[in-house]
């Protein structure tokens, strides 16, 4: 009868939860010790990156309900500031990251003061427009950003503390741990937001702005807090991406694609939940990598469903890797139709249903 009841005991007693958490953390910390394949590490790093992006957007979009489709602005600005400082001023990225975050906070406050005058779909459009302005600026301010040529990182200086080299960035392992640390940071920030006054104010604004306003919540203050936290964490992702890949240009770090990608991670995983973006990344990163590298086509051939030499097989081999946008789109439609609360919400509902029967 009471489907709407929030069950406190959804099969996850808290000791079990803790053991699982520690096991997952231990696995993640030890992963590079046992797996040396650079490709596996690369996939894990992309997974961390996606988690950072998703969790960051989730604070503004999932908790405060402000659906920004312009988060590429913060991703790109963080990436550009870090790269420009590293290439043009020889400032190492572990300082540059924070400079990037500081610049992004300023950008976010300016964007917030413009876009938060608008509500609903108008806010979405404004957020897209502002991100496009930044992309076009990066494209055309050639003296500052190298324009469409982009910036190539020639060398990342090794990280030294007191003259001792702590790590160099030649292998993927330091990136792995940096990504893991940033991802954990965003999850911890989200956890604290959900369990604080901020979280309550954000969610009240998401559910009903006018009601929240009448209950003493200063709308522009809390929306801007959500935006600043979200933008700052997104800029960490941008800086991390830039240094890891070693090359950025306006069409890789500032386009609408990036903004949409960030939103999709959350929508597919589950909006407004701590682990939704993790689940979203867990699904989307392997999917897009599998399609891009033709691994999925290979798997289909191996399973014997389609022979590689048949017409269908050739078609798949030639085209599946280009079809990842299409398959993405289909996936989003399926999630929206059948799992309106995302995969995580769907799983919770199924668990609750099983617990009852």
């Amino acid at each position: 009868m009471n489907v709407n009841r929030i069950s406190a005991n959804n099969n996850w007693s808290s000791p079990l939860r803790m053991v699982t958490g520690i096991a997952v953390l231990a696995f993640l910390f030890l992963f590079p010790r046992f797996v040396e394949s650079p490709y596996a590490l690369h996939i894990m790093i992309l997974f961390f990156l996606s988690t950072i992006m998703g969790e960051s957007w989730n604070i503004l979009g999932g908790y405060a309900g402000q659906y920004s489709v312009g988060h590429a602005a913060y991703f790109g600005t963080g990436a550009y500031v870090t790269m420009m400082l590293m290439q043009f001023r020889q400032i190492p990225p572990w300082y540059g990251v924070w400079a990037g975050a500081a610049v992004v906070v300023l950008v976010a406050l300016i964007i917030g003061s413009i876009c938060f005058r608008l509500r609903g779909p108008y806010f979405v459009l404004a957020s897209i427009a502002v991100a496009e302005i930044l992309r076009l600026s990066a494209m055309n301010l050639k003296e500052l950003s190298n324009g469409a040529e982009g910036i190539l990182a020639t060398e990342i200086p090794p990280l030294k503390i007191g003259g001792v080299i702590v790590t160099d960035f030649l292998s993927k392992v330091p990136f792995y741990y940096t990504g893991l640390a940033f991802a954990l940071l965003t999850i911890i920030v989200t956890y604290f937001i959900q369990h604080s006054k901020l979280g309550y104010c954000f969610q009240a604004i998401r559910e009903d702005q006018d009601a929240a306003h009448s209950l003493g919540i200063n709308l522009s203050l809390y929306k801007n807090i959500a935006l600043v936290i979200s933008a700052m964490l997104t800029s960490l992702a941008g800086s991390f991406y830039a240094v890891y890949i070693g090359f950025i240009d306006p069409s890789t770090v500032l386009p609408l694609d990036v903004s949409v990608q960030i939103v999709l991670i959350c929508i597919i995983g589950g909006i407004g939940t701590i682990y939704g973006p993790v689940i979203g990344s867990l699904l989307l990163v392997p999917l897009s990598e599998g399609l891009r590298s033709n691994m999925i086509a290979q798997a289909i051939f191996k399973s014997g469903m389609v022979s590689e030499e048949s017409g269908m097989g050739i078609f798949l081999r030639e085209n599946l890797s280009h079809a990842h946008a299409l398959i993405y789109g289909i996936l989003v439609v399926i999630v929206i139709l059948f799992m309106p609360d995302g995969v995580l919400g769907f799983m919770k509902k199924m668990l609750a249903r099983r617990a009852k029967s």
Partner: protein, 239 residues
């Protein structure tokens, strides 16, 4: 003692005067009824008082302080909160979380806010629904949730916009008792209501609005005998 003074408030939407030159005062601890036919400007007046609309002319004084230019959140923090004609539960949050949002304007501690919220849920007698999502409540309990939520903000003046609308007689009776209980706590209330029996019973004074203007003001007994009010509600031919 006056807690709220409305001084010559007008609100224009284009050429339409939704409120025209309305003045009255509300005494501390009393219940002021606000009635009038549909479109009389009752909700607009609430919106002007609580800061949703800036009045086109005139001003509102709360405890002697002008509210000009203040946003609803500031007005709420000063101790004046309203409910909505169409209930506005925070649907995807639990009942107790809804009320906690109200309590959080008085405290920063979640633990304290939860205690305050549970206390108000007991006041309106829906504490057994504390862990449910607000969207699952039936209308009667949603109305009570709204009352609990505004009570949690620690108000001195409450504005109820048709808090009994759409309820069955038993539920209405419960809300009437609730309003009378709130009065006993010393909280001033202003109530918009269409149910004449209810409003006559609970109000100390009543203001009647018609087509944006104040038509009459007085005790319930005076209002029922006022020929202008009867005309406004029933038309000329009944006189």
């Amino acid at each position: 003692m006056t807690i709220l003074e409305i001084r010559r408030v007008s609100k224009f939407f284009g050429g339409l005067a939704a409120n025209a030159d309305i003045s009255f005062t509300v005494g501390k601890g009393s219940i002021m009824g606000l009635i009038g036919p549909n479109g009389a400007g009752k909700t607009t007046l609430f919106n002007c008082i609580t800061g949703y609309y800036p009045p086109s002319r005139g001003e509102v004084l709360f405890d002697g302080v002008s509210l000009s230019g203040l946003q609803p959140d500031k007005v709420c923090r000063m101790g004046m909160v309203r409910t909505w004609q169409k209930v506005r539960p925070l649907a995807k949050m639990t009942v107790v979380d809804n009320v906690m949002v109200g309590a959080l304007c008085r405290t920063n501690s979640l633990k304290r806010a939860r205690e305050m919220a549970l206390e108000q849920l007991r006041t309106v007698r829906i504490e057994h629904k504390a862990g449910f999502l607000a969207e699952g409540l039936p209308i009667g309990e949603r109305k009570k949730l709204e009352v609990a939520r505004v009570l949690a903000t620690g108000p001195r003046l409450l504005l109820f916009d048709e808090v009994m609308g759409g309820l069955n007689p038993a539920e209405s009776e419960e809300l009437i008792q609730l309003i009378l209980d709130i009065k006993k706590k010393g909280i001033t209330q202003m109530v918009i209501e269409h149910d004449m029996k209810a409003i006559m019973r609970i109000s100390d004074r009543i203001v009647v609005l018609n087509s944006g203007e104040k038509l009459a003001e007085g005790s319930p007994e005076e209002i029922v005998k006022n020929p202008d009010v009867v005309t406004a509600y029933l038309g000329d031919c009944h006189i």
